[in-house]
């Protein structure tokens, strides 16, 4: 019933997490009754250490299996609704659900261009007998890749990303090249220089304006306050508060959870 109603009013891709529980060796890390992400273009997910933000995102990507519960992606690629908690991780990107990584992740040996081509390539190109597909793949996507290379001033793409910041940026670019309908960013600005952070933020705004739903986890709360339309505050495995950045910032519970009682 509820899902039908939601479907009717959905304007942008949303994720609904229902009765989702995850515990590690007996300790409950995430326990969410009902959470909808994606009502607003850009939403923030904050909370003190151990609140379960990263675990929740991994559960959504299904790289961490759920103990129980359902996660549904509304308005996925193709417009339909998909129960993603039953699907393996590699099905998320084709459905338009993409997540960037908190820690720096890259492929050894692959150049920046390789990384981009890997992201834009689809399963039909990547079969043992398809040995003449490199050219068409490149030609079909070269403009799209060039846009990013120029925007971020990447320089020569035929080299391996060197610095940690460059790898972090490449991780985000890979995600964007997948043309996500629902994008999750796990600490996108940690380790990035200021001017790159601004460019990333600008791009995320543009993407959100064009209809992609974005959820951000970030330690640098200034980014959250400036960028998000809505903020979910997590503590002890569940979302305890939700509101505009101003509301959350003023809220005594939030200050208390971060700083302890007495500083309210």
């Amino acid at each position: 019933m509820v899902s039908e109603m939601q479907q009717a009013t959905v304007t942008r891709p949303q994720i609904r997490v229902q009765n989702a529980v995850k515990s590690f060796s007996g300790r409950v890390v995430v326990d969410i009754d009902d959470l909808t992400l994606g009502d607003q273009p850009i939403e923030g997910l904050i909370g003190p250490n151990g609140a379960g933000k990263t675990t929740l995102m991994r559960m959504i990507m299904h790289s961490t299996p759920l103990d129980r519960g359902t996660i549904t992606l509304f308005n996925a690629n193709g417009g339909g609704d998909v129960v993603i908690s039953n699907l393996p991780t590699h099905w998320m990107a084709p459905h338009g659900l993409v997540k960037s990584n908190q820690v720096i992740m890259d492929f050894d040996n692959l150049t920046i261009l390789d990384s981009m081509l890997l992201a834009v390539s689809t399963a039909k190109y990547e079969q043992p007998h398809r040995i003449f597909d490199e050219k068409p793949l490149y030609d079909d996507n070269v403009e799209r890749m060039h846009e990013y290379m120029e925007y971020f001033d990447l320089g020569d793409p035929m080299r391996i990303a060197g610095s940690a910041g460059e790898k972090k940026l490449l991780d985000i670019i890979r995600c964007l090249l997948l043309e996500p309908k629902f994008l999750m960013l796990d600490e996108p600005t940690a380790g990035l220089p200021e001017e790159i952070t601004e460019k990333v933020v600008g791009l995320v705004r543009k993407l959100a304006d064009e209809g992609t739903s974005v959820v951000i986890v970030e330690h640098d709360l200034n980014v959250i306050w400036n960028l998000c339309d809505d903020v979910h505050f997590m503590a002890e495995g569940s979302v305890v508060l939700r509101g505009s950045p101003e509301e959350i910032r003023q809220n005594s519970t939030v200050v208390e959870k971060y700083l302890g009682e007495g500083h309210v």
Partner: protein, 292 residues
């Protein structure tokens, strides 16, 4: 299937495959502590067999007199391989996959170096002809019974050493969490050397037992390696106790299937298939957190 079949399987399984338990304990120590799959462990076993045979035939010594020296030599060589190969490899940041291949290379080198040293013909221990006694209605060589008893004794001693002594505690702490162990003041080098030595001693003694019950040949250890590895991978999750029980059960299963199929190779075949299937089934059930 009658009672006779079971008692036969148990007696033959335990007497013939007792060294498997001992070898698996040694391998499990290395595997669980260092995370290293040391293919060259099969050569530690072979070395034990050769040195036992050599002490036994050269100095005309009783088998039980040469058992410990053979184990100690194998243990020292095991420590030697740690310093010569595995420690430098770790310092050079060699990956897990390369480490397996390196140990594979070491295994080949040791195996064929042994052939150079001890010559090509198959060799034998010189032990008195077996006296047969009946256990559970099955005839077994008295020597084999003694061998089972001593394997059991050595295994229990090792178990006690690991579980109850202060050195054992350091070993288990280092295996459990290396960083935390260091922050608690445990010296990793000392403990690691200790492990390589004990693993080598266990392997060497197992080799001597294998050698005395049949013959001594360069492939002696390698032929057992897959089964040792399977026992440890399948049984090693619950610590040494699991390894000992899995090892003993494997021996009994091998004996039972050999009786059933009339061919030891079929028994081995069935065992490999069963164990690999078990591993597959377990991996399906325990897909845990992937770091993305």
């Amino acid at each position: 299937m009658d009672l006779d079949f079971f008692s036969k399987s148990i007696v033959i399984g335990l007497t013939e495959h007792a060294p498997l338990v001992l070898a698996a304990i040694g391998f499990a120590l290395l595997y669980r502590l260092t995370g290293l799959i040391n293919v060259a462990y099969s050569e530690t076993i072979t070395l034990g067999a050769y040195f036992g045979m050599w002490f036994n035939t050269t100095y005309d010594l009783n088998f039980y007199t040469v058992l410990l020296p053979a184990g100690i030599v194998a243990g020292l060589i095991s420590v030697g391989t740690y310093f010569a190969v595995f420690r430098p490899a770790k310092k050079l940041n060699v990956g897990a996959l390369e480490m397996i291949i390196i140990s594979f290379g070491l295994s080949i080198v040791l195996r064929h170096a042994l052939q150079f040293v001890f010559g090509y013909p198959v060799r034998f221990f010189e032990v008195p002809p077996p006296v047969s006694i009946r256990v559970l209605g099955v005839g077994v060589g008295a020597f084999r019974i003694l061998a089972v008893a001593s394997v059991a004794a050595v295994s229990l001693a090792l178990y006690y050493f690991i579980q109850r002594t202060s050195f054992g505690l350091q070993i288990r702490a280092l295996a459990s969490d290396e960083d935390l162990a260091q922050a608690s003041g445990i010296r990793p080098l000392f403990v690691t050397v200790l492990i390589w030595f004990i693993a080598g001693v266990a392997g060497g003694m197992a080799g001597a037992f294998y050698g005395v019950s049949s013959s001594v040949a360069p492939l002696l250890g390698w032929r057992q390696f897959l089964f040792i590895f399977l026992v440890v991978v399948v049984g090693g999750r619950k610590g040494l106790g699991g390894v000992i029980i899995t090892g003993a059960l494997t021996g009994i299963a091998l004996a039972a299937m050999t009786l059933q199929f009339g061919q030891v190779l079929y028994a081995q075949l069935a065992l490999i298939v069963a164990f690999v299937a078990l591993l597959k089934w377990r991996s399906k059930r325990s897909i845990e957190t992937v770091k993305v």
